[in-house]
């Protein structure tokens, strides 16, 4: 019998971790080092220095960018949470009509690329927007959509599903006896929610809030349009990387590294916090709906529908616009199908590419992310923590930056990927792996470890156990992670625009180019089409999840 240094209980997780580190090392860390290396070098590129960092942080412009970004991030996270938590509670515990529809509609804002949402919002709520003018005509002064308020509002209304979905799951997983215990001790129902229920769901809310915060740090589509001339971190990084006039890789690298450090810090704080308070809930059944008065029920219903519909405003307006006539860039409000005729004439190939890439990437993301999510949740070791951080890093890396890293790293040498479709699928996979890790981790938290031990004791190896017992139990989470990946890959722009080549253009590239050159009609038609196509997997998911939850 050979004696292995690795304890046998650790071989599977360490094996998974090793494979994940190889994958992420090659397709995340290596490209990033290639991009960010310049930020640690002096002007001649020969000796190590932190001068770039002190110099950048000394400039008021970039300090303002950092402050603005953090203020927006914190405000958006708080508002999103305040918006989404009561929403989640209502959906999980109150009798609200049309729950399934609300849930399906709530994921929709994620489908629309943020630069398209921003375009729609300016048309509606800009200084001469349709809604603005209507309001002004009725004597209602309307502040500007531009600036911090507008950006925060857009984030809150597009990112709230990140908090809503995990919070619903948590509210449903609560052991109702804890609430009963609190009430039997004389606590009022309201106080019970505040003192017992909320602390138990806090980890799920925090995890969602973290996603929102990181997304606001990284996103540049929204501030690109709505910030006007307020400096924003991600936008400035973008311009320093690929600005037309003064690309400055070492300064851009500074911003990129700072972004990653911020995200890592937030992530570690969250992991520590969650690590210290782990609330086991052993609920076997979803808690029953609360009995509330008609007034409360009506208020909750109005609230939920109002949030969902408000968030879909850019969405509806894009669909409406796509059926209007555009002469060049200029909108003429008549019904027309020209945009679609033009789209199908011109953009069939990108459409097929989008479907193909999204499907391939969603599968890859699942294959990489689910085992990683399992390991980082089941095993509490240094390796697992490190893996968690590394696998969440892609959140903090702007798509543009990763894409440039890919080109620098894989254009020559042992591994040549540029020019083909594979490089896009790999970039998408790396970017969306955190989704799969997060969503599967949440499920693993709820799977009793003794099920795995039972399977192992019955003679299945840990790997077989993972495939036969754990994966089927995670299926709901895996599928929702897959759909989320699918949808967000289909609407990905920032890495695509740098990496695509030849015939491998996508629908978002078509939209972007059309909007850039004033062909808004094609852009809206392409966006509408993407919406319709994305509805399919989302609807499928909700049917599956409902069936899964019933059984």
């Amino acid at each position: 019998m050979t004696i292995l240094a690795i304890p046998h209980g650790q071989r599977l997780p360490l094996g998974i971790a090793a494979l994940a580190f190889v994958f992420l090392g090659l397709f995340l860390i290596y490209p990033l080092v290639n991009v960010f290396g310049a930020s640690f070098l002096d002007a001649e590129g020969t000796s190590l220095t932190f001068a770039n960092y002190t110099r950048m942080l000394g400039r008021p412009f970039y300090r303002a960018a950092i402050t603005n970004t953090l203020e927006i991030g914190v405000a958006a996270t708080l508002i999103t949470t305040v918006l989404a938590v009561p929403f989640a509670f209502a959906l999980a515990r109150l009798p609200i009509p049309g729950k399934a529809a609300i849930l399906a509609l709530a994921s929709l804002p994620l489908i629309l690329p943020s630069f398209v949402s921003a375009y729609a919002l300016v048309l509606l709520l800009g200084r001469s927007g349709i809604v603005t003018q209507w309001l002004q005509a009725h004597g209602i002064g309307f502040g500007s959509i531009y600036g911090m308020g507008g950006i925060v509002a857009v984030y809150a209304l597009t990112l709230y599903p990140y908090v809503l979905l995990p919070a619903i799951a948590a509210f449903k997983a609560i052991d109702v006896s804890m609430e009963e215990a609190a009430q039997s001790l004389g606590s009022s129902p309201g106080r019970t929610v505040w003192t017992v229920t909320l602390p138990i769901v806090l980890p799920a809310i925090l995890a969602g809030g973290l996603l929102v915060f990181i997304e606001t740090l990284e996103n540049f589509g929204v501030p690109f349009v709505l910030a006007e001339d307020m400096p924003i971190f991600a936008v400035e990084a973008f311009k320093l990387f690929i600005g037309e006039t003064a690309p400055n890789p070492s300064q851009a690298g500074v911003l990129g590294v700072l972004l990653i450090l911020t995200t890592t810090a937030v992530l570690l704080v969250q992991r520590r916090f969650l690590g210290r308070r782990r609330f086991a809930t052993s609920a076997r059944q979803a808690p029953p709906l609360l009995k509330v008065g008609r007034g409360v029920q009506a208020a909750a219903t109005v609230y939920c529908w109002a949030v969902v519909i408000l968030a879909l405003v850019p969405f509806f307006s894009i669909v409406v616009l796509s059926f209007m006539e555009f002469r060049g860039p200029v909108l003429h409000p008549h019904f027309s199908l020209d945009n679609f005729a033009f789209l199908f004439d011109r953009a069939l190939r990108p459409l097929v590419n989008t479907l193909m890439f999204a499907t391939a990437a969603a599968l890859c993301v699942t294959i990489v992310g689910v085992p990683v999510g399992y390991v980082v949740t089941r095993y509490r070791s240094g390796v697992a923590s490190l893996l968690d951080v590394v696998a969440t890093l892609p959140f903090a890396v702007a798509g543009t930056v990763l894409a440039i890293g890919f080109i620098v790293s894989f254009n020559a040498g042992a591994l040549v990927l540029t020019g083909g479709p594979l490089i896009l699928v790999l970039a998408y996979t790396v970017r969306k792996v955190p989704f799969a890790v997060r969503s599967s981790s949440a499920i693993v938290h709820q799977i009793d470890a003794s099920l795995e031990e039972a399977s192992i004791s019955l003679g299945r190896s840990p790997l077989q156990t993972f495939l036969r017992i754990v994966v089927p139990l995670m299926l709901g989470g895996i599928l929702s992670g897959m759909v989320l990946s699918w949808v967000t890959v289909a609407s990905e722009l920032s890495a695509t625009i740098v990496l695509y080549s030849g015939p491998w253009s996508t629908l978002t590239v078509v939209m972007f180019q059309a909007l850039e050159s004033g062909g808004a009609g094609i852009a809206t038609a392409a966006a509408s089409f993407l919406i319709v196509v994305s509805l399919l997997p989302i609807a499928l998911l909700y049917r599956l999840v409902r069936r899964y939850e019933l059984s």
Binding site: M1, I3, P7, H8, G9, R11, D448, S450, L451, E453, A454, S455, I456, S457, L458, G459, R460, S461, P462, Q464, T465, I469, P472, L473, S551
Partner: protein, 330 residues
């Protein structure tokens, strides 16, 4: 096949020595129980045998075969968990067939053996059900059938009855014992309930702070506890200094309440002790009395209910005890 040998097994978690140099031999076909309070290391020791916990030192053998470095899934054990751990995605039959499929047993044989096993645990005809349709007791039967059906070298039970209600616990433990005996599979059973341990076990290992406190057949551990911990854990007892009973040796002794009687009802030759009744608890068939004796120590005794018997608090009584049931404890 032969029994299980554990030699010098140790495991430390942080600064806590969860299992501290345990030596133990379990005979082939024996029903062996690891008993002790929570945190005593009994579950850790069981998980070492199962392969879910590494040993820092020591070894475990199934007969001649050393297994402590083998991965859990090749150790050939059947394990029953406290929370059943029935796979929710598989039917009852699927659960029971799970280990057989892992062993590549032919489909036809699987079908017969699953049916047999379900019949053994009185779940014949339940094969098609899904776990969420079963009660807790039924789930635990599925878990037992699932562990039995693979005819493992050893059956491990990790507090299997503690999630069941009291009545079901009593009937299930008898069933488990009967099944184990009829199949002749070695069983190691973990519990913190001494009554359960005594009722099912051939032998018991009493554990405390990661060490073995005493190993023996139930009646020996009950009647001849080696330590104060053993004496107290195995049931109510009077732990007094020998001097209090009028004996010369400077030692602690254990005297079970049932070895004390009123002098007038005691056989001749039992030593007498004067005392005062300071507490009475009437439980129906028996009453528990607290009697303060000469040096201030309080002795617990038990009276079987009898017509006309009247005992009051403050009553002065003379006790007698069976000196053959005195056990010196360390």
């Amino acid at each position: 096949m032969s029994g299980i040998v554990i030699a010098g097994a140790s495991r430390t978690f942080g600064t806590v020595r969860a299992v501290d140099g345990v030596d133990l031999t379990v005979e082939q076909g024996e029903f062996f129980t690891l008993l002790g309070p929570s945190g005593c290391g009994k579950t850790t020791l069981l998980r070492m045998i199962a392969g879910f916990c590494e040993l820092d030192a020591g070894e475990i053998r199934f007969g001649e075969r050393r297994i402590d470095r083998l991965p859990a899934h090749v150790r050939d054990i059947g394990m029953v968990f406290q929370n059943y751990a029935v796979f929710p995605t598989l039917s009852v039959a699927g659960n029971v067939a799970y280990g057989l499929k892992a062993r590549n047993v032919a489909a036809a044989e699987i079908a017969t053996r699953v049916e047999e096993a379900l019949a053994m645990v009185q779940l014949a005809g339940y094969g098609g059900r899904l776990p969420h349709e079963l009660s807790g007791g039924q789930l635990q039967r599925v878990a037992i059938a699932r562990a039995l059906v693979i005819r493992p070298h050893v059956l491990l039970f990790d507090e299997p009855l503690s999630n069941l209600d009291a009545r079901l616990r009593v009937s299930m433990r008898a069933e488990i014992r009967a099944l184990q005996k009829s199949l002749g599979i070695t069983a190691i059973y973990v519990t913190h309930d001494q009554e359960e341990a005594m009722s099912v076990s051939d032998r018991i290992a009493l554990m405390n702070h990661g060490r073995l406190e005493q190993v023996g057949v139930p009646v020996d551990i009950y009647r001849k506890p080696a330590t104060r911990f053993a004496a107290e854990f195995m049931g109510t007892t009077n732990l007094v200094q020998a001097r209090a009973l009028g004996l010369a040796a400077p030692v602690w002794v254990s005297l079970r309440p049932e070895a004390l009687r009123f002098a007038e009802e005691a056989p001749a030759g039992w030593p007498h002790l004067p005392g005062v009744v300071v507490g009475i608890e009437m439980l129906g068939p028996i009453s528990r009395l607290d009697v303060r004796i000469g040096n201030g120590a309080i002795l617990k005794m038990v009276l079987l209910d009898a017509p006309g018997q009247i005992v009051r608090e403050g009553q002065i009584v003379t006790l007698a005890y069976d000196s053959s049931r005195l056990t010196v404890v360390s």
